[in-house]
């Protein structure tokens, strides 16, 4: 089968992927071919959210799609959230402050997902628990909106506090 040479835009950098097998997922391209190992391969079937990255500002599961499909799109991973001077993104800071992790495996996905989630929430996007107008981001609204990210250590209390603090800023 023909191999493909194309470019991905990741965290503002252009990465050229040479002679890539079309079967390579976006996650494998980011991790194995671009060396950005922040996004994690948990379930590799879209259930755990550890592979979450942002494309054009929206969160997706990078394990369930082909790298080729994202040629030229604006991809952002956990490595691209901090400022150029190294100062952390508000969500990164809040996760540290509130102990929003234990082993850390799900954390890049949790934080990227939370970045996308807050953008959706601020744009007025509804959720399954929204009744009429979008309500306060607490309790059921937050749980529903973050249900695509699992934490097997069970650091949910800290994760929730971190996201709520970042949301309030």
């Amino acid at each position: 089968m023909p191999l493909h040479t194309f470019q991905l835009q990741i965290n503002g950098d252009t990465r050229t992927l040479s002679n890539l097998d079309p079967r390579v997922s976006l996650l494998d391209a980011i991790r194995d071919h671009c060396g950005l190992t922040g996004a994690k391969k948990g379930c590799n079937q879209g259930a755990c959210g550890a592979c979450t990255v942002l494309v054009d500002g929206e969160r997706i599961n990078s394990c369930l799609t082909l790298a080729l499909q994202y040629e030229g799109r604006d991809i952002r991973t956990i490595e691209g959230l901090a400022e150029a001077d190294g100062s952390l993104h508000p969500l990164q800071k809040a996760f540290v402050e509130h102990d929003g992790f234990q082993c850390g495996f799900c954390t890049p996905g949790q934080i990227c997902s939370a970045v996308g989630m807050l953008a959706e929430y601020k744009a007025g996007a509804p959720s399954a628990v929204t009744d009429g107008e979008v309500g306060e981001l607490a309790g059921a609204e937050l749980q529903e909106r973050m249900s695509g990210n699992l934490c097997r250590c069970g650091a949910y209390v800290g994760i929730r506090e971190a996201i709520l603090e970042a949301a309030a800023q």
């Binding site: 979450t52 599961n61 799609t65 080729l68 695509g148």
Partner: protein
């Protein structure tokens, strides 16, 4: 995953159809189901035609209703002001499915084309008439708690997994397709098939045909509606039973009622028996319960999923009662 050739059709649906005809493969949009199935080697297409960049990502007003393009992301559809305002049942159903990440990837057309989550379909060590026609069905005598109770056949008891399609069934949507022989429309209720003797044939699409849009008619706009889903956890799980219903009462009588069920059949199930009984009737709890019982009378549950019969009856009755009390 088997190896395949990849081609992207960005310009027009006609180009996508031509590329697929050349290569004999599958259309690829969000990939959330197809890539997973390919990884499990349940789907083994020799070619993929990437349709995710086709100019079909618009939601437009049309003949008093809406046209939802085939590549509109599920999340965009659910959040669109016109969908939320006129067809809240559709918005709610979409938001009850999958996770936010998946809804940001999955498309209108792809949602219609997703395949069953039957464990035996996914397990290549099991017999499955859907995966290997004629091989048998291990679900029938196996663990079938999540399986169908209506419209089943001896050859397949799989369910259709979509929430969105339950709403589209209730709203009398129409599927627009194009293919090697040109364009045509398919009524939503006819799009998905019951298993019968050919459970591997899941839709009315012909070889090479591509979904370009789903149309919602003016007649089902602005109806008070509820989408209710019962599942094994509060979020991000497939339905055990779901109900999408809309009700309009005029002068104490039911003027319009639409009921569709998810998680109970090989296709999104329009509860036509219940609807017929209720049309013109008084919106009473007793009538709702009677209609729900009649709808489920033909059910053929197995040893693990008999609970779905009573669950579906209760859900239909309670959703309609809620609509009659609060929204009608």
């Amino acid at each position: 995953m088997n190896s395949f050739s990849y081609a992207r059709a960005s310009e027009s649906p006609d180009l996508a159809v031509a590329l697929l005809n050349e290569n004999q493969g599958r259309y690829l949009a969000g990939g959330t189901n197809l890539i997973d199935l390919m990884r499990e080697e349940i789907e083994t297409p020799a070619a993929l035609v990437d349709i995710s960049r086709l100019p079909l990502a618009q939601i437009e007003e049309r003949e008093g209703g809406l046209r939802i393009g085939a590549t509109v992301k599920n999340s965009h559809c659910a959040a669109h002001p016109l969908v939320r305002d006129r067809y809240p049942l559709l918005s709610s159903a979409i938001l009850h499915g999958a996770s936010a990440q998946l809804r940001n990837m999955a498309t209108t057309g792809g949602n219609l084309m997703q395949r069953t989550r039957c464990y035996y379909f996914y397990d290549t060590a099991s017999r499955c008439n859907k995966r290997t026609p004629g091989s048998g069905c291990d679900a029938a005598q196996g663990f079938h708690r999540i399986h169908a109770i209506l419209g089943t056949s001896p050859h397949c008891i799989a369910t259709h997994p979509s929430d969105m399609c339950v709403a589209l069934t209730a709203l009398d949507a129409t599927v627009q397709v194009t293919g090697p022989d040109g364009e045509r429309s398919i009524a939503f209720g006819d799009f998905h098939r019951l298993p019968g003797n050919t459970p591997h044939v899941e839709t009315e699409l012909r070889a090479g045909e591509l979904i370009t849009a789903v149309d919602l008619p003016a007649s089902s706009a602005n109806l008070p509606s509820i989408y209710r889903k019962v599942r094994d956890r509060a979020s991000y799980a497939f339905a055990l039973v779901s109900v999408g219903a809309a009700l309009r009462v005029e002068d104490g009588r039911i003027a319009d009622v639409r009921i569709a069920l998810g998680g109970v059949a090989h296709k999104p199930w329009r509860a036509s028996i219940a609807e017929q009984m209720l049309h013109g009737a008084e919106p009473t709890e007793a009538n709702f319960r009677q209609a729900a019982e009649a709808e489920l009378t033909p059910a053929t549950p197995g040893h693990d999923n008999a609970f779905k019969v009573e669950l579906a009856q209760r859900m239909i009755a309670s959703v309609l009662q809620e609509l009659a009390e609060v929204k009608a």
